[in-house]
Symmetry: C2
Subunit: 303 residues, 2 copies
């Protein structure tokens, strides 16, 4: 028996202050059979909440549409303030393939959801990342530049007709960015030095934007309470830019300054495949297959 | 919701030549609801078959007793020949904790099964490994020494009264060894040399029996078709003697001879925890928890 397909969906909603709105959205997700609400958290200064759910395509789609129904009715961007940039009431909806499902299936799901959102709620949708059909509209930051306040003007300029829905913002709910991407890994490496300049130089060396690895975003920070510095990263495609390659590159760059890696940390979740690839690399395991992992074998074999 | 407890059980049966007997035993396992028969394989020269099944305690116990019913009726050790040492028709029955279950629970299951086997079939049982209640009867090899042919004399000598059942072999089915142990990892490391003496020296350096790691069995072999040598190992407790420590020790010993590790290989199955611990070690991950693995989180969260 093949395992049940699992898609992760992490909608970002522009409401982080009114518990009754946030709870109503969580309840709408929970009410959909076949969807698991794994986590949700809100930030009042960002005035934003992030929901993490998982399930197969059809129930995930139903849960996202149920969220829109609540959010479009309750959130008005004209009076919304917060530190985090945003375009709409439901700002971003990424679909992430986890198990037994391809990226192509997540792209197809993103397009289905985008079409439904536009037709049911009159909210224009831009597709992003793997679902993007326009090279200039792949990055979330580019699509969101100008935010809700600049959206009306942006939507009528050349190249910014949305992928679905009207070429004007929804009056209160703005626009949404919907797409498909790989699972992100939030990965930090701590160095045994207090020199922030070293952490920043290493971050610049390894990140895509300044010549480093294609799927690394990085910055240097000071951990004041510990008197050390950190290279803080997002790994946006752990298959193409694996954890061990990033770790080894940071280690090598640090050596050039006489600095060592103290430790690393994974913030939040990490796909099992990213850890398995790390073990495979360091142990030089030849011909390894995921179904050699006992737990995978147990789950995939059904008599 | 806690995941369903999973115990693995790998009975070794003294029949590897008569397909009808082997298939009848496999069918008896498959007929038990809640048990998955993951694999079975037979070796004619050893005249032995190994069955791998998984499930919770009660169904696993039912499946083992169903195997005994078939095996005791069909196998006669008085006429059995084969290269592999054996004491009984069902020779060895190990229970292995995999998920959501403790070693203590597997020890309790081993004792329950042993008691039932003795009382229903009149087959004497020795407990071994973690289930052993006698330090001299922990290792399978010690218990099995003398084999079926020497069993009658051995059972009446001091210290060899069985843990359950009569102090004499079952006439045709001999005795069984039942116990609980950690999952084994069959792990080989290939070296870029054809010098068998080096593989043997490294094996001797790392294995328990000659002064090495507590939970490593190792030997050196030549891979004739490739013109290289191999350190072939069984890791009998990957928590206490982890894969990365063994790999690094072999690497360091090989360097002393000017030899490098070409690659390693995992034969058969490996627990996910053994690979995760390897990634944690090499990436120096601080404060890592298994529920940070996305797939674990997905499986343990139920709304």
């Amino acid at each position: 028996m093949l395992p049940m397909p699992i898609i992760e969906c992490i909608p970002n909603v522009s409401e982080g202050r009114r518990p009754e709105v946030i709870e109503a959205i969580a309840a709408a997700i929970r009410a959909v059979p076949g969807v698991r609400l794994l986590d949700y958290s809100s930030d009042a200064s960002h005035n934003r909440s992030v929901f993490t759910m998982a399930g197969d395509a059809a129930p995930i789609q139903a849960a996202v549409l149920a969220m829109y129904e609540r959010a479009v009715a309750a959130i008005d961007l004209r009076t919304h303030t917060g530190e985090h940039p945003r375009l709409g009431a439901i700002d971003v909806v990424p679909f992430v393939p986890i198990e037994g499902v391809t990226m192509e299936a997540c792209v197809a799901l993103a397009k289905d959801v985008a079409r439904e959102v536009a037709s049911r709620f009159g909210v224009p949708v831009y597709l992003y990342e793997e679902a993007s059909m326009n090279p200039a509209r792949k990055n979330l930051e580019d699509i969101r530049r100008g935010e809700f306040e600049g959206l009306g003007a942006k939507m009528v300029t050349a190249g910014w007709t949305p992928d679905f829905g009207p070429a004007a913002p929804h009056p209160s709910a703005g626009a949404s960015v919907v797409g498909a991407r790989m699972a992100l890994i939030a990965y930090n490496i701590n160095l045994n030095t207090d020199r922030l300049d070293i952490a920043r130089k290493i971050a610049a060396a390894i990140r895509h934007s300044s010549g480093g690895f294609r799927y690394v975003k990085a910055a240097g920070f000071t951990l004041d309470d510990r008197g050390i510095v950190q290279v803080s990263m997002n790994l946006t495609n752990y298959e193409k830019t694996p954890m061990y390659r990033v770790f080894e590159a940071v280690k090598r760059e640090a050596e050039r300054y006489g600095v060592q890696i103290l430790e690393s940390e994974i913030v939040g979740l990490v796909p099992a495949a990213a850890l398995n690839a790390t073990a495979e690399f360091y142990l030089r395991i030849a011909g390894f297959k995921a179904d050699q992992i006992l737990e995978n074998k147990l789950r995939s074999t059904m008599e």
